[in-house]
């Protein structure tokens, strides 16, 4: 006999869609309704069968594996804790406590997605709003350097472009959609206005747009591949808008200029508040990467790239961020929490994880678990483990598991490690 769970949250991406219907039969997920192509496999391809931890590829008891992990961390002079973004806020808290206890460097996947956005927020502030306000109020949406129809597949339908809300009774027709990208994408095809920027020229285009919004005249015909006429059109729409929202992605943070690009966009958004209500929301990738920023900030004062080596938190993007630490070969042990840096880091940084003892907590085998000295196959947050996650707009959402818990959670394992380290 099957049970259908309603209003289930998908914790795969930062949208945290909370309207899924998940059918479970004999403690197996047999059907997922309303999930997107990216989220469905998160539920259906997860095998919740308890598995023994591995030490050097050999199955051992949980007690032995945690003992070995603690031994590695105790023997380390410069441990790195990295990942955090695909686990619960509760487990993230424990990972920060562990870092504090052992004097580790701790960094989340933010440093390779919206770390530059964090730097921009610290420079110019964050004019923000919730996705509920976007749904009910927005009449101008600008997507800059992101492709929601691929990366956050239901974003347009559930939160931004399409939904009918209190002050947006006609849904899509109530809004003007602008997409800015260096290439045509699925999302640019949905746009009313597509601005195609030359690669690496976002900063110049944003600066020109700031000038045009203020009514200044520019003595050029194009900036960064975009005509001044098109930018004038966007500036006019922005000044005439009632409630505008910018969404921004890796097209700004991973492009030359990085945090400077984002600072320029956030400054534009702040300035547009002279004309109407304007906000900006970063398109957060992993399900709880926003939570990683929240937890690290409330615990240490800084959103990512934090070192506890001196006994107090120090902030150092470029110094304590994981890619830099690994590329310089500075970490002599690593604990990876629900992340796959071997797949997603530049190879010169990833290879250092093969040279040092690496401990990995992850519900599924990955390229990083393959090189791990200790692999702890924990429960999956939002599927068989409960917890809290932060949506991309900073709204915390409780995750209700659909499967009974038969594996230890990240939180429980980290708790036991904290007890065993010195």
């Amino acid at each position: 006999m099957s049970t259908v769970f309603e209003h289930i949250v998908c914790s795969f991406c930062g949208c945290l869609c909370d309207d899924l219907s998940v059918e479970v039969e004999n403690e197996q997920i047999v059907k997922v309704r309303r999930a997107c192509g990216n989220g469905r496999g998160f539920f259906t391809d997860y095998d919740p069968t308890p598995r023994p931890p591995l030490v050097d590829g050999q199955a051992v008891s949980w007690e032995e594996a945690i003992e070995e992990a603690a031994r590695i961390l105790n023997a380390s002079d410069s441990p790195l804790i990295y990942g955090l973004s695909s686990t619960s806020t509760e487990a993230q808290r424990k990972s920060v406590a562990l870092a504090d206890r052992i004097g580790a460097i701790i960094d989340s996947t933010s440093s390779v997605c919206h770390g530059p956005t964090g730097l921009a927020m610290q420079t110019v502030g964050e004019p923000t709003c919730t996705l509920g306000e976007v749904r009910n109020r927005s009449d101008l949406l600008v997507f800059w350097g992101c492709n929601p129809l691929v990366s956050h597949t239901r974003h347009f339908a559930r939160y931004s472009a399409m939904p009918k809300g209190t002050f947006t009774p006609e849904g899509r027709k109530s809004r003007t959609i602008v997409v800015v990208d260096v290439r045509p994408t699925q999302s640019t095809k949905m746009a009313d206005i597509f601005l195609q920027v030359k690669p690496g020229e976002d900063f110049a285009v944003l600066t020109a747009l700031r000038a045009l919004v203020k009514g200044k005249t520019l003595d050029v015909d194009t900036v960064g591949g975009v005509s001044i006429a098109q930018l004038e059109q966007l500036a006019e729409k922005a000044r005439d808008a009632r409630f505008g929202v910018f969404f921004m992605g890796m097209g700004l943070t991973q492009t030359p200029g990085r945090d400077m690009n984002v600072s320029e966009l956030f400054t534009l958004v702040a300035e547009l508040n002279r004309y109407a209500r304007f906000s900006v929301i970063p398109m957060r990738g992993h399900g709880n990467v926003a939570g990683a920023d929240q937890v690290l900030t409330w615990q240490s004062g800084f959103p990512f790239a934090v070192s506890y080596a001196r006994g107090y938190p120090q902030y150092g993007p470029g110094e304590f961020s994981a890619v830099d630490v690994l590329a310089r070969g500075e970490a002599d042990a690593a604990l990876i929490l629900s992340s796959d840096p071997v797949a997603h880091f530049p190879v010169a940084a990833a290879r250092h994880l093969e040279r040092i003892p690496t401990i990995v907590l992850d519900p599924v085998p990955t390229l990083t678990t393959k090189v791990a000295r200790v692999f702890l196959p924990t429960a999956c947050y939002g599927v068989d483990a409960a917890g809290t996650a932060y949506r991309m707009d900073g709204v915390p959402i409780r995750l209700r598991p659909v499967l009974p818990l038969s594996r230890p959670t990240d939180e429980q394992v980290l708790d036991q490690m904290i007890e065993k380290v010195m």
Binding site: D45, N147, Q186, G200, M250, Q254, P346, L367
Partner: protein, 108 residues
């Protein structure tokens, strides 16, 4: 001829990663390079032909596919194959140069 390389998410990459990063589906989704069709013709590269992509950080051989990209741009889906040619200079931000690298392409 120099190209600008960008890496990023694709639908096939996002969906196949749940099958495991050693699955055939994930490999097919991430081990490829997309190019402007005119650039391919200029370099004498056929559809699905293996090409060598160089950056200052390394080189990799991949099948090339024509795509709706501006001239002079290369796109490789994010993942372990793309990361073979991405460097680690984060310019003191923590962020590697996943987009905007200069690259060269030649048929193999």
């Amino acid at each position: 001829m120099s190209f600008t390389l960008i890496t990023g998410r694709t639908a096939a990459q996002g969906q196949s990663l749940h099958k495991g990063k050693e699955s055939e589906a994930y490999h097919r989704a991430t081990a490829l390079v997309e190019m402007n069709a005119d650039d391919m013709a200029r370099l004498g590269i056929e559809e699905e032909q293996t090409v060598r992509v160089h950056t200052v950080s390394g080189q990799v051989e991949l099948p090339a596919y024509s795509a709706d990209l501006p001239a002079g741009m290369l796109f490789i889906p994010m993942g372990p194959t793309a990361n073979l040619i991405i460097g680690t200079d984060t310019e003191s931000t923590g962020m590697p140069p996943y987009k905007g690298l200069t690259a060269e392409v030649e048929p193999v």
